[in-house]
Assembly symmetry: D2
Homo-oligomer: 370 residues x 4
């Protein structure tokens, strides 16, 4: 297990700044916007610590837009950077990258957006969706918080995990070693992997007591959740990659983060609450100048288990043509775009143990005025 | 061609009332909610003049949830009623029926929600998507307005048309008679049929001059549009069925209608403008008591032709797994649910010549206080 | 629980004949071909005992082509007839009805195609996919065999069951009564319901010993299977409907049935074995005159659990855009059309406990020469 | 425009051999099988002239499995090699690579499998699906034939072209230069590009007279076709890449190729005709030892325009959930697997001007017994 970035060096008097660039993509392998950032001098490749990407695949088992984007980004950035590719831009969502960088240097005292990353070791197929994944994730969150100088869990506003899934080949490989996996349904494995990762985050942040957790609660106890966890499953990796975002003392720059928990997929007031906390106008849609100050919106989406939203039936769970997570991303994407007035938003599907059933965390990163 | 309902009788001193009931459905053939309405005495079957239904199919060529709902509703109501089944409840939209009724009777003087219906004759396959459909639709709109007592086009706020589409069998039938159809792509035929219907509405309402219209503009000139037209194509009929809604003098009851034109799929302010016109609080999401006063929201959704929303790329037009109209309905459904706080909204796909490119009309029917 | 048709009367000197008519459909509600059969005098409505239909839906949870066809057929035939609508005509399969009739009357001694039907009671949601469904199915198979005069299980060549599935609403209904269902995944419930039904058939035919069966083997023990079972799940019913087909003494007419077990989805030799048993040329594709003698081909299709066909990877189980059963139907439909030279074949998906893993029964009904 | 490989050198006494290796893939970026071939010494990277790949995407506009495979193969092989990635392994088709190599060296006199490649220049968006593409393709076919030493068009058995498609971005780019493209429907552009490429092949092989061709026939005159053309469209390139396969004098080795034209999607006898020409048993399914001798089957699949196969309705053209080419590939894949007894077959969709309407060329490469 290796921690990301030499965090020790950054704990000194140098005041780090966390920068976030939003870069549109023309296709999953498009890194021309990233290259342009580097060419302009606005950002140096070695400053990049993480990239969040929305790619235009189905976000499900056979979504190869994620490995394609990863292959292109690794060619541009090396294997050093945490890459969180989230497939699925249903509805009006716009494919884009969020490039998160850490710059050492000057800045006034105070509190600002901070980032830290860490990786687990590769998991065995039979560890996915089980306590081994929960515990390894919690340990990685703690390392990432330390790297960001975040000592109080209350200052953490969003924890993103990229986690693996099971494929037929991986299930066979485990079976060949006499091991049974948590599920034989490859699509279901994505939910269990996300769920175990989210429980690990909740454990690390003190939202969920350790004694409440065992293999049997993963995927079955929606009342156990983190309000700041976001997990995306992908075929392109076998370990968990963790990115912690918060407001930390000792960081500089104009960016701040706030979060709320959406109680369901149409919880516009939750989004507007986060906007208000950042000093943005929170009635109706943001006017264009305010929308420009929003650097990123990160949200989770999932269908409710009971097939209802505020008592009215939705069809996500009964649709055999379009997976339920695809419907959920489209819905939350529409609600968030209604609030922000733009569509390049990081809405990711599958919110098992990430917020309440049918809801999920939403975080906003904005540029402060002044 | 037959006009719907003996409108002559209703022009006398009796003050008609237009009632709208929203009825959830458990599946496309579910008429148990409608039966319960009748059993309760709240509504008599012979008062029903139209039913709008959102069903849970794909809203495209092979959406058989529409004929299934029509079969069930005709068994319950007879063939007399205009039925507008619109397939597609993507995202969080909730399948439901809007039962529109006309009740003769007492009421104070003033202006209230009014409804009128009319049907064209059956079209030949080669007439679909061409001027024959435009002109027949315009004539039917005029008849429906007369039936509703709507003399000023400015008092018309929403015109719904249910129109046919081409199938391989219908194209073959025309070919056997030596006739070529407007398109050989069955999915594309839905757009041409909706477009021709919308141009007919715009012609009838004076929004589009007759001399601007010929076969070649149908589907190719997005600048020609009606701001109050809504057209849904379905496999289950060969004629156009027209329902006109407006606020007319001589009608009674607490319901009023307002509309706006959404300039794109995320135009929350347009929806909030219509809400404000009806006296509803229009900042943030409607509180539950105000949401209860909204009897219906009717909106159109479509992808932009240039693949952008406010300059940012969407993937609707390049997705070969999910049709573009399905993405568009999910998006507008999310935006509308953000405003209203409920998901049983009539968002219908394919807005050719219905509002500007990528946008569309939105109408709200609400119960006035007092 | 009611047995179908008064079988006692038919055991007398009158020699019944089982007739099978293949009727193409233009859409799921199309009964014009059936009406034409009746109008021609070739068949009387009261002679019909069962209809097998391939409809063009997705064959999964939200396939409403099945209830649409059922609604149309019940209007034409009454509720008396066993209706087995199987959704899914992927690849080149052609939507059609197989109308199975029983005609009392003259005929020489000997053995010919025989049919019997029976229904179970409606199941509770929590009984679906469990031993209650297994046992009720076995009892219904025994009643249907008796109705057909089939006393030796070896003379039974195909048993079709139409069985229910779970929806979100049905799961909620059970939960409201404090009952948990066999699965909360509505798509998975189709497999469990088919599996339980197939085990019931295998139990009735003596292919599977009763002591091998309990709730835990349903869906998990592919080595337990019937070689003559075919089960289709649909949203439109809550009971199992059973149709037994065999060659029975005391029946007359030119039709005979034969079956084989396909060991995988590309087992052309199995199909050719059944053809050869019926005296048809079994090398290459049937020439047109022989293809005309084939009145029906009935087959089951499913993906292998290990993701391989003869050691080569298929992608059915990892495809989140198209359900695995849809791929499997398309594959087996292609293999069967290669053999028969026509595409109006009854290939139905989901072969849990119906033949070996990835394979399934195939039966052919043909007209004997002479 | 650059011809592939220095063909001049190979015209000398050295007797070239065309080798074909079939390599299974575990995912679109999997080149481990190719690496193993190189590591084993069976093949040298510089001998590879072309790779045909079946990848597991949807084969339509947003199929990113093709560029992913290309990125992985270019990393392994360099940009020198013609890469034909064809998306879509519906039904039971198995993702795999066909690695085509040319080895200089010894060998007896006679005739054997030969290969030649050539590329066009990049096309402008407005050239796609028009005569510019037809003519450039014909010129490239001639160059590729020369490179293979194929002087008689009758010795050419299969010509594969990989060709580009239009995306929203490409259409916009052309519009910005004042140029209109052949179609604004991105999915339709794949068909026009394949069609223009196939007509270019037919022109080069003398199957279609040049005077029959102009822009208007592309995609509209199914009677104009090549019986040996195969074209696949992909988002990952803007030029046409041409690979010619035939039996040429002066080549050595045990491989031979034969082809037939399938008259429709279920034309098993056409496949069996090609097998028979290669000395393989052509009744029923190939036994395992004969199936091993089949090194590759290459076929094209498409739906019939009239919605019928031998007079029976298919639903490919009316299915808005699954694209018609996906159904067609699944069907032809099933028919071909019935013949060969294996599923790693190169069945590619969209056969515009490639064989008759609804049919297409099929070629088999087999190892001769010796």
């Amino acid at each position: 297990m290796r921690a990301h970035l030499p965090a020790k060096k950054s704990q000194g008097p140098a005041m780090p700044e966390c920068l976030v660039f939003r870069v549109p993509t023309r296709h999953p392998a498009d890194v021309s916007g990233l290259d342009a950032l580097f060419a302009s001098g606005a950002l140096a490749p070695e400053e990049v610590v993480a990239v969040f990407g929305k790619t235009e695949g189905n976000g499900c088992v056979n979504d190869f837009t994620r490995p394609l984007a990863v292959m292109a980004l690794e060619a541009a950035l090396g294997a050093r950077v945490a890459l969180v590719m989230s497939g699925g831009t249903e509805g009006g969502l716009s494919p884009h990258l969020l490039v998160v960088a850490r710059r050492e240097g000057a800045g006034g005292p105070g509190t600002a957006l901070a980032v830290g990353t860490a990786f687990t070791d590769d998991f065995l197929p039979e560890e996915i969706g089980r306590m081994a994944q929960v515990r390894a994730t919690a340990a990685a969150v703690a390392r990432a918080m330390a790297a960001a100088g975040l000592t109080d869990p209350a200052d953490v506003h969003f924890v993103q995990v990229k986690c693996p899934l099971l494929t037929s080949a991986r299930i066979q490989e485990a079976a060949a070693r006499g091991q049974d996996v948590s599920t034989h349904d490859t699509y279901a494995s994505m939910g269990l992997s996300r769920g175990a990762s989210a429980l690990g985050i909740g454990l690390a942040l003190g939202e969920i007591p350790g004694e409440a957790l065992d293999d049997s609660v993963i995927g079955t106890r929606p009342d156990l959740f983190s309000g700041r966890a976001s997990a995306s499953a992908g075929i392109e990796l076998m370990r968990n990659e963790v990115i912690v975002l918060g407001n930390a003392p000792g960081w500089s720059g104009p960016l701040r983060i706030a979060h709320r928990v959406m109680r369901d997929g149409i919880d516009l007031p939750a989004i507007q609450g986060a906007l208000a906390e950042l000093g943005l106008p929170a009635s109706g849609q943001l006017p264009p100048e305010a929308a420009e100050r929003v650097v990123a919106l990160l949200a989770k989406a999932e269908p409710t288990g009971d097939g209802l939203i505020r008592g009215r039936r939705h069809i996500m769970n009964d649709d055999s043509d379009i997976n339920a997570t695809r419907h959920a991303r489209a819905l939350v994407g529409g609600v968030a775009a209604a609030a922000i007035g733009r569509t390049d938003l990081f809405v990711s599907g599958g919110a098992e143990h990430q917020g309440p059933d049918g809801g999920g965390p939403v975080a906003v990163i904005a540029r402060m005025n002044g």
